[in-house]
């Protein structure tokens, strides 16, 4: 399973920041039908859509290409509906891989998922080693699956997503994912046609930037609904009235419920048919009926209104059938049986029994997979091979009436025309069918702004969205609008993909964070006079001010505007200050000083209020600056009007000592001198009193 889709644009990648790249990789259903699974990453967030198996394979071979990705990095996994090719590898993925993100599906999907997969585990006839998961794995996975309702917007790690009705089957959803303003729509399987119990797929309110869409039916067109329903009921009606039996092989869930609704309704309106029984032979469908009866809110308005008077899923003319042994084959009847492909099971048993009688009929109601008997008999061969190996004449009538709830070409093209997504990715369709659809869509979107891509499995699609990061400046910082060139300083707070800039004081207002202050008070043993300390401090710090404590009247010293020194008792001094790196440093030096003083005691000091000579200080500073510059640049002279002239290899720079301005023809030198002078100055000059 080597990757076939190595990123072709490693050059481009360096130019664009990595995280602006949106990568979509089909791990299944890329130019094929089955094992839907798509991996998408953008801005460091990873979303996976669907997690199905391929019905034509078994064991590990049926899984999507999970080894292409790192499951532990996936943030969210979204399942569109309960069909095996969309959800059946979920227990494996949740229980047997390093995946630790969150999984979402709709309520109805979750309820049916469990029943369907338990059934799948029971009926799949593979060896124990080949089993991908067991009943226990399914139960455990149920605890990890979270539910989402249609239109409900959820946010996980900054990924916002919500879902729309997709038609197709009960609980089927189309997911819209929004990461940092880039929207991706994944339709899953969808149908834009309302039927007896399901709604049509909705048209999303917003146009997505990328639309990942199914292409099962490619450029084919469906028959109008009422025509195919009429064809269906007519075939059945005429067959049973002529004394024949009708076999409808169908998958247990999805279309079967729709067909049962049609049949029950038809029987209700035709009393002459009441004596002819309809059976549906699927214990699974029977178990799922409770789900259909509960999640009516996912259905269309019409059937919900019916629920108010009678339960439409409480069929009056249809009876469940457990096995062929119970079945009393005495006369005309209608049997709907699983599986849909006539591979084995009850539908095959009945087919073997009935196929050679020309009064009988077989109605195939939906998409049939290549290689199954159902696909074979659509072409009406003269003979068929029975399960026991014998051949028999195929005399029964075979009708193919597609009730498939997938979008056809007309639906797909109108859907895309309404949405006008700039990027379309086709998945879930046979390669040929998909190619035809792509060509036809390209002619529809001929303006050239729409890209249509049909990736194969593991072939990555890369797209670039450079999003502007916008921040909102709020609170005190925003009290006046700044003008160009001013500086803005504050806290930049990021939550998800939103940025806010605010003053530290406002932090608690606009976020749940708060700022703190640590006030420190430390006591040091010291029994000397405060004056001694003051004298020593003055030698180090510029600002040492004496004052009195207002409450106790004890003399205090305020050092460097930050640290207060106070006599606590005869033998103790106390320092207090508000913690920050500079104050901590100042306090440490005071502590060291006090300890030193205590050790050197007693010592006489002249308490002379020496007035600090400003001039002398600045002269001293100037000398130091000069000396340091010489050590850095060598040739430094005093020029006119107090400027320093620096000469390096013939390049001359003039430095103004007061402002720090540098004039030089050589840009490099200018910058270096400027930088050097700034550093020297900050070293020579005292620490500024206030920090800000």
């Amino acid at each position: 399973m080597a990757s076939t889709g190595q990123p072709a644009s490693s050059l481009k990648r360096s130019a664009v920041r990595d995280e602006d790249q949106l990568i979509i990789t089909p791990l299944g259903a890329g130019s094929e039908v089955g094992r839907s699974c798509l991996h998408m990453s953008y801005k460091g967030k990873i979303v996976m859509f669907d997690c199905g198996i391929h019905p034509a394979f078994s064991g590990m071979a049926a899984l999507p290409y999970f080894d292409e990705i790192d499951p532990s990095r996936i943030d969210v996994l979204l399942i569109t509906h309960f069909h095996l090719d969309h959800a059946a590898s979920l227990p494996y993925f949740l229980e047997k891989t390093t995946f630790k993100g969150r999984v979402f599906m709709t309520h109805a999907t979750k309820a049916i998922y469990k029943l369907l997969l338990s059934d799948y585990v029971k009926v799949s006839k593979v060896s124990v080693e080949d089993m991908l998961f067991d009943e226990q794995d399914i139960l455990r996975s149920m605890d990890k699956i979270e539910v989402i309702d249609f239109h409900q917007t959820l946010e996980v790690n900054g990924i916002r997503f919500w879902c729309y009705t997709a038609g197709h089957v009960l609980g089927a959803a189309m997911f819209m994912v929004d990461i940092a303003g880039v929207r991706v729509l994944y339709t899953g399987d969808y149908s834009r046609e309302e039927d007896r119990h399901l709604r049509a797929a909705e048209l999303p309110q917003f146009s997505p930037d990328v639309c990942i869409i199914e292409s099962t039916y490619g450029v084919q067109l469906h028959e109008p609904r009422h025509i195919r329903e009429k064809r269906f009921t007519d075939v059945i009606h005429s067959t049973v009235t002529q004394g024949g039996r009708v076999l409808i092989p169908a998958y247990a869930l999805g279309r079967a419920q729709e067909l049962l609704l049609i049949l029950d309704e038809y029987w209700s309106s035709h009393p002459d048919l009441h004596k002819i029984p309809i059976y549906y032979a699927s214990p699974l469908a029977k178990r799922c009926m409770a789900v259909y009866q509960t999640y009516t809110n996912a259905m269309n308005e019409k059937i919900r209104n019916q629920f108010a008077s009678t339960d439409p899923f409480d069929f009056k003319h249809i009876f469940p059938l457990k096995s062929i042994d119970e079945f009393n084959d005495t006369g005309p009847c209608v049997v709907m049986a699983t599986p849909g492909g006539l591979q084995s099971g009850l539908s095959r048993q009945l087919f073997d029994k009935w196929c050679s009688d020309r009064k009988n009929a077989c109605v195939i109601p939906g998409y049939v997979v290549q290689g199954t008997l159902a696909k074979t008999i659509i072409n009406e061969p003269k003979e068929v091979t029975l399960t026991n190996g014998l051949t028999a004449y195929l005399n029964m009538q075979v009708h193919y009436i597609s009730f498939s709830a997938h979008a056809d070409y007309a639906q797909t093209s109108t859907f895309l025309k309404e949405l006008m997504p700039p990027n379309i990715i086709l998945v879930h369709g046979e390669a040929n069918e998909m190619g035809r659809l792509k060509q036809k869509l390209l002619s529809v979107f001929a303006d050239g702004n729409t890209k249509i891509i049909t990736p194969k499995n593991c072939q990555s699609v890369e797209m670039y969205f450079n999003s502007q990061k916008m921040a909102k400046t709020v609170g005190k910082l925003a009290e006046k609008m700044p003008s160009v060139g001013e500086t803005v300083s504050g806290l930049l707070v990021r939550k998800g993909f939103t940025y806010q800039i605010m003053a530290p004081e406002d932090l608690h207002v606009f976020s749940q964070l708060s700022t703190g202050n640590i006030i420190q008070r430390i006591t040091i043993p010291y029994s000397g006079a405060l004056a001694v300390i003051k004298y020593r401090l003055k030698q180090i710090y510029e600002g040492v001010e004496s004052s009195m404590d207002e409450e106790s009247g004890v003399p205090t010293l305020l050092v460097h505007d930050r640290v207060t020194v106070k006599t606590e008792s005869e033998n103790h001094l106390s320092l207090h200050w508000t913690a920050d790196p500079i104050s901590d440093m100042v306090s440490d030096s005071i502590v060291a000083l006090v300890l030193n003083v205590s050790r050197e005691m007693p010592k006489l000091v002249v308490d002379s209020e020496t007035v600090v000579n400003q001039d002398e200080d600045s002269k001293k500073a100037e000398k130091i600056v000069y000396a340091l510059l010489v050590s850095l640049f060598g040739d430094v002279k005093y020029g006119e009007d107090g400027k320093l002239v620096i000469n390096v290899d013939g390049n001359v720079a003039q430095l103004d000592k007061e402002s720090g301005e540098v004039e030089s023809e050589n840009g490099g030198l200018k910058e270096r001198v400027k930088m050097a002078f700034q550093r020297i100055r900050s070293a020579v000059k005292p620490i500024p009193l206030s920090g800000s």
């Binding site: 309702d149 925003a478 160009v484 500086t487 707070v493 749940q512």
Partner: protein, 738 residues
């Protein structure tokens, strides 16, 4: 400047009257809730009538009378015509509540404030949303996004969040943070720092015992009564809290295999439970889970019998438990049953919620309870003799008029039907069906038409006279219609007959039982008599209201800590109490407006947008703090090509800034942390003693919260020692220094 927000209460402030508030967001007027009381006192709606026509959208929060009772009346009489938004359960159960109210009233009075048609037409325009669905308001309110969120309390109960330009206005009344049997707790706590929070003070002075204890007492009281051969009456609401009570009883009966019959008696009981069954998505996680695992719907009731009229109840001998609407005992089945049972000392009337002000329930809940109460007993009795004759004459005249109107209507609707359908064929089918069934129904059908004329005169614009077959283009339908599915499927070869709506909806259910009342064609009148009832039965009140209690409300408010807080709905004392509390502990801007007093809660927030340049961002190092990432930036303002501001890196060296310590320290957490680092710690006298000498104190946190500083102060004290510095390092480790 921020978004302008004004709040103007229309009803329900400084008292426990129904709720109704006008909230304007940048000139877009939301009417949030549209409640009425069980007396249907029109004077309460005076303020609403003055502003009804200016309302742009109505948001409903809970499916009970107090929150949406006035909607039909306001839509019909007060000129309210704005689109309405609610969750699916609020819509369905609200509708049932209104039906029940109407039917209960109609039974005992000539109720004419609104009709079933008015209820239907008021509800048919409701847009249904799901929880946390962001709905973008189109047109005038462009830019405003509304989203309902779970409130607890009632099924579908909503906390509304109105967002404009990133500022949230949250309306949260009657929320419940506790998870219950059928509901999850509210998600209110997940909202942080909204610009405005509107909430109620209803429970500010109430505190509840623990749920388990309360449930136990509840069941004990009931069991004690029935074991002593008494009956228990629980006056309940139509479709709200009663669901929780039913589940409690159902589960207990199941566990203990009890056989005492339980009845749920309202005019819409069976519909209520049917809808409840299909609302599992809206219920608690445990209900959803049990359904997923066993497919057992919690509302598939085994021990509770649903009744829609009184007569069946009388057939059951022996002790029984009856949950009957209305909770106020003012009308409905509960009223009748109370009058009947009050005189027997063995019986128990168990109130599960505080009665509305000035109702019989409230009177009975007073302490000590009154010995005797005066009640008005009203009965609808058939007319006899002269009255009947006069009535019939009147009816005949009216019928003729109506018939004329009907014919005109039918013509019209046919015409419109024809226009709707492309071909004539389905229409022919339709007409065919209409004719035979109306003939077949014969007398009965004519009788139905009478009902409309009898009970409530339809307004000229109403489609009423067309009864049961008028085409209502909207999804809602007329009332009392019986559509038999077979009627229209029989001849229908063409399966695609979507043109015939199968919309019998709720009514289908109603028909079964309460049809006798709604469709009662016998001319009748209401006879009332005053009667004194001696209250000898036991009376008990237990709080099953499902609202957060006072203490929780306070802590929730402190947690949500809105920038501005508006208090509504609650007795004057409760409102004042909560206001004072919040001023001290939650925020500086607490408002409790009077009725029709418009207060401006526009946030005084300044904001502008800037673009963060790539250059700047490449040098910013974020530190992660929970959900947030935070960094200090110094930037220079520049301008982009399209004229917006952008932030560029500074061209001059960064000036020093005051260090900011970010982090929220809980003393208890700190204690654990220090202990884990091998420091001996204990709390002593409000301070944390670390080791032998060092103490840590935290001051000014809660007091100043929401105040101007909002900075927590931690004081670290100690003598010069190694320990001091060690503890300081640990303390620093709790903060992010920027």
């Amino acid at each position: 400047m921020g978004t302008s927000v004004q709040v103007k209460p229309l009803c329900g402030v400084y008292n426990e009257n129904p709720l109704s508030y006008l909230v304007s967001v940048d000139g877009f007027n939301f009417l949030i809730d549209c409640g009425w009381n069980d007396h249907f006192d029109t004077s309460l709606l005076q303020p609403l009538s003055r502003v009804a026509s200016t309302v742009d959208a109505v948001l409903l929060s809970h499916p009970d009378t107090l929150h949406l009772g006035a909607l039909p009346y306001a839509m019909k009489q007060l000129g309210l015509s704005a689109p309405v938004f609610a969750t699916e359960p609020v819509f369905r159960l609200g509708l049932l509540t209104m039906y029940d109210q109407y039917l209960s009233r109609k039974q005992v009075s000539e109720f004419d404030l609104f009709t079933l048609d008015d209820i239907d037409s008021a509800f048919q325009n409701i847009t249904r949303l799901t929880y946390s669905q962001n709905y973008h308001i189109p047109g005038k309110g462009e830019g405003i996004v509304i989203a309902p969120h779970a409130a607890g309390h009632l099924l579908g109960g909503t906390v509304w969040k109105i967002t404009k330009d990133g500022e949230d206005v949250i309306y949260a009344v009657d929320f419940n943070h506790r998870k219950e049997r059928h509901l999850n707790g509210t998600v209110l706590l997940s909202f942080a720092r909204p610009a405005v929070l509107i909430t109620d003070a209803y429970n500010a002075l109430n505190n509840q015992p623990s749920r388990r204890q309360r449930d136990q007492e509840f069941l004990d009281a009931i069991l004690k009564t029935v074991r002593a051969d008494g009956n228990v009456l629980l006056p309940v609401d139509t479709a709200g809290r009663v669901l929780e009570l039913i589940l409690i009883l159902e589960q207990f009966w199941e566990q203990h295999q009890l056989t005492y019959p339980i009845f749920f008696l309202t005019y819409v009981a069976s519909s209520t439970i049917d809808y409840a069954k299909s609302f599992l998505e809206w219920m608690s996680d445990s209900i959803a889970k049990s359904f997923e695992h066993t497919r057992d719907n919690a509302f598939l009731l085994k021990h509770v019998t649903l009744l829609i009229n009184n007569s069946e109840l009388e057939k059951v001998a022996g002790p029984k438990i009856v949950l009957a609407s209305m909770a106020s005992l003012e009308a409905g089945f509960s009223h009748d049953i109370f009058v009947e049972w009050a005189a027997d000392t063995k019986n128990l009337v168990l109130f599960t919620e505080r009665g509305q002000f000035a109702t019989l329930a409230r009177m009975l809940q007073s302490d000590p309870p009154p010995r005797a109460v005066k009640v008005t007993m009203s009965r609808r009795i058939p007319l006899v003799g002269e009255e009947l004759a006069a009535y019939e004459e009147e009816q005949n005249r009216k019928r003729e008029e109506a018939l004329k109107a009907t014919l005109v209507k039918e013509e019209e609707s046919r015409a419109s039907l024809g226009a709707e359908l492309s071909a004539g064929d389905p229409m022919a089918v339709n007409a065919k069906i209409t004719q035979p069934s109306s003939n077949a129904a014969g007398l009965q059908f004519g009788a139905y038409r009478d009902v409309l004329i009898d009970g409530f005169v339809p307004p000229p614009a109403s489609a009423g006279p067309m009864f049961p077959f008028y085409e209502n283009s909207a999804e809602w339908d007329d009332f009392g219609e019986i559509i038999n599915l077979e009627d229209y499927t029989r001849n229908n070869e063409d399966m695609d007959h979507s043109s015939i709506p199968a919309e019998d909806d709720v009514n289908g259910k109603l028909d079964e039982g309460s049809a006798s009342l709604i469709l009662d064609t016998t001319p009748s009148k209401v006879v009332s008599s005053e009667q004194t009832v001696y209250v000898k039965c036991s009376l008990l009140y237990m709080d099953f209201e499902g609202r957060s209690d006072g203490r929780s409300v306070k802590s929730i408010l402190a947690h949500v800590s809105p920038l501005k807080l508006v208090l509504v709905h609650g007795s004057a004392e409760a409102t004042e109490h909560l206001k004072q509390h919040c001023l001290k502990n939650v925020c500086q801007h607490v408002y409790a407006p009077q009725i029709e007093e418009s207060i401006d809660v526009t946030s005084d927030l300044c904001a502008y947008k800037v673009q963060l340049s790539e250059k700047l961002m490449s040098n910013v190092l974020f530190k992660k703090l929970g959900d947030y990432e935070i960094a200090w930036v110094d930037a220079e303002v520049g301008e982009t090509e399209n004229g917006t501001f952008s932030l560029l890196p500074l061209s001059t060296p960064t000036p020093p800034h005051k260090t900011v310590l970010v982090g929220d320290i809980k003393m208890a957490d700190l204690k654990q942390y220090l202990a884990s680092k091998g420091v001996q710690v204990e709390f002593a006298g409000g301070a944390l003693r670390c080791g032998e000498y060092v103490t840590l104190r935290k001051v000014g946190d809660s007091i100043q919260k929401g105040g101007s500083s909002g900075v927590q102060q931690i004081i670290l004290e100690g003598p010069l020692s190694e320990e001091y510095y060690k503890i300081r390092d640990h303390l620093y480790a709790q903060f992010y220094s920027l």
